[in-house]
């Protein structure tokens, strides 16, 4: 096993392990912390895929921003420690069965499909290509997102203001 491959397996183990912890733990604060490591693992996966810009974005937005927001949200909404998540093994059975069936379907489809493969390339910066794509071929989705963000911000403000007023009254 080459050095790169062994690192890859290590990262995969970290991602899956912490991911499983997020799902199975009963303590929501611990779950949120474990999620940081899952996100970091995914960022590392992007590095292996030569997607440096995506890795940086994943690190900044998910590893940093989203998890911090999540933790703040959890800590501010559950003032009393010990909000336990319910895990009912009996109810989990059908979920496991469906998830298992889904996994088999993905696996058998993925294994035999002729994927449109790209030969491994030397690591090169992708930011420039992404930047020029956003300004040329993908200008429309970029602008769509800017309008979307405006609308969503207004919606978020409405929701926040409303719940604030409800608490006040």
């Amino acid at each position: 096993m080459s050095f790169e491959a062994s690192i890859w397996y290590l990262v995969a183990l970290l991602t899956l392990g912490t991911g499983a912890y997020v799902v199975f733990t009963r303590n929501i604060v611990r779950a949120a912390f474990a999620l940081v490591f899952t996100f970091l693992g995914v960022a590392a996966m992007y590095v292996f895929l030569r997607a440096d810009f995506l890795a940086a974005a994943q690190l900044l937005i998910y590893g940093g921003g989203i998890t911090v927001l999540l933790l703040f949200g959890v800590m501010l909404t559950h003032r009393h420690e010990g909000m336990e998540l319910k895990l009912d093994p009996l109810k989990a059975l059908p979920a496991v069965a469906i998830a298992g069936g889904f996994f088999v379907a993905i696996w058998s489809a993925a294994r035999r499909a002729d994927w449109d493969l790209v030969a491994p390339v030397e690591p090169v910066g992708t930011s420039e290509a992404i930047g020029s794509a956003i300004m040329t071929t993908h200008l429309l989705p970029f602008e769509e997102i800017s309008v979307l963000l405006l609308v969503v911000l207004i919606g978020a403000l409405f929701v926040a203001r409303r719940s604030g007023e409800e608490e006040g009254s």
């Binding site: 489809a109 449109d116 020029s132 993908h138 919606g155």
Partner: protein, 510 residues
Amino acid sequence: MPHSIDSLSFEASTAATIESLGQIVPELIVTCTVLAIVLVDLFFIRGKGKRQGPLEMVVLAGMGAALIATWAGFAGEPRAVFGTMMVVDPFSSFFDAVFLLATVLFVFSTMMSNEIAVADRSEYYTLAVGSVLGMMLMASSTDMVSIFISVEFVSLASYVMAGFVRGDRRSSEASLKYVLYGSVSSAVLLFGFSYLYGLTGTTSLIEANQVLYASNPYPLALLFALVLVIAGLGFKIACVPFHFWAPDVYEGAPTPVTAFFTVAPKAAGFALLSRFLVTLLSNPSTSPGFWTFLGSLDWPLLVGILAAGTMTLGNFGALRQTNMKRLLAYSSIAHVGFVLMAVSTLSPEGLHAIIVYMAAYLVMNLGAFLVVIAIRERTGSVDLRDYDGLANDAPMLVVAMVVFLYSLTGLPPSLGFLGKYYVFAETIRQEIWWLAAIGAVNSVIALYYYFRVAKALVFRPLRERQWTGAIPELATSLSVALAAVTLVFGVPWGAFEKVTTYSATLFLGR
């Protein structure tokens, strides 16, 4: 691959972008309307003395201008803009008009309802008009990137709109349910897209179509990808078995929003679904006007089964409802089944049937909801038991309601009949007998619960009670006008036929 920013190609693409912008004037007008709502609210409506009027004028003016622009572009050559990100063709223009008209009726129904506080109207209209922009993009997107963004656009705005009643637990619950189910369905859709991208190496549907026909990929992987995409979109249009969120959300949301949800986003979902299937899967080498599809898999059967399940479960669900919003929610699921029946034929005639059906559904369903809103103003209730004998109280309104119910059932001569006629005609022409039979049985079931409403309104005695308000004048005149449209257009009419047939033209990049 690293692109070097070549100034020549950059200039060429800038020129192409500017040219493309000229092709999407209706979308630009709607975008400007969103901004105008925010600015008008900021500068012209001050303090606590908020009143109805200015914002509604802005929205109506914006929608009117966009409608004119849509009409002006309707006869244009079908074309792709922004590369192959989206296309502008009669099909997309027709659906744009459906969304814009639905928004106009939505504004009127909001004005006559007291469910939305006047102080919240600017956010409310921003979200609604924003979602209309998303729908217009949904109807014309031919690239998985822009498809996903536009679908999310509509979904995110809808989540907030469903919870727009202050301090109402039902409404908040509807909103939360919508968010949870909606985000899962978006993830499913995206996962399907990732498979398609992996198989074809492109996000453009037009290019992916050519790759699929050139390479003939492993059928199981393609089936898996498409089942995921159809499931993701199925959630958005509430087709069985992805419909379970719909009755709760439609009941909890403010009534004008429910009315809007049952028509506009569904039309957008159908426009996207049919464009997606035809653009991606139809054989590029056959002549226009006749489509054949990737061999190996039986798409019509797959969609047909969904259609049969959707209309049957929707109708049986509606049978026992006493809440009008829930009843119309289940009935809208049943109508989704009928439209899916048209989708399953996968032919230009089927596309024509979808177009006629959606136009008919727009008029009759929004009409029925207008009456429900008006009655809610009068009796303070959306319960069927409070509908007894209202024909004596508001005769014109009830006459209009009976016309809408008649049309929703699909009896001639009405718009609803015309819609069903084209759906059945195409199903029978393709000799899908089992589906036609299930559809026929379902029409009879629908007759029962629609006429239960009509019976309560007309034949039961009016009870003594406390009225909570008056029937809005606007509601009566508007619903009578819509009822007239339902009947007049229910007679096959040359120009209508011509417009809808022309609207079934898709740009497929060939």
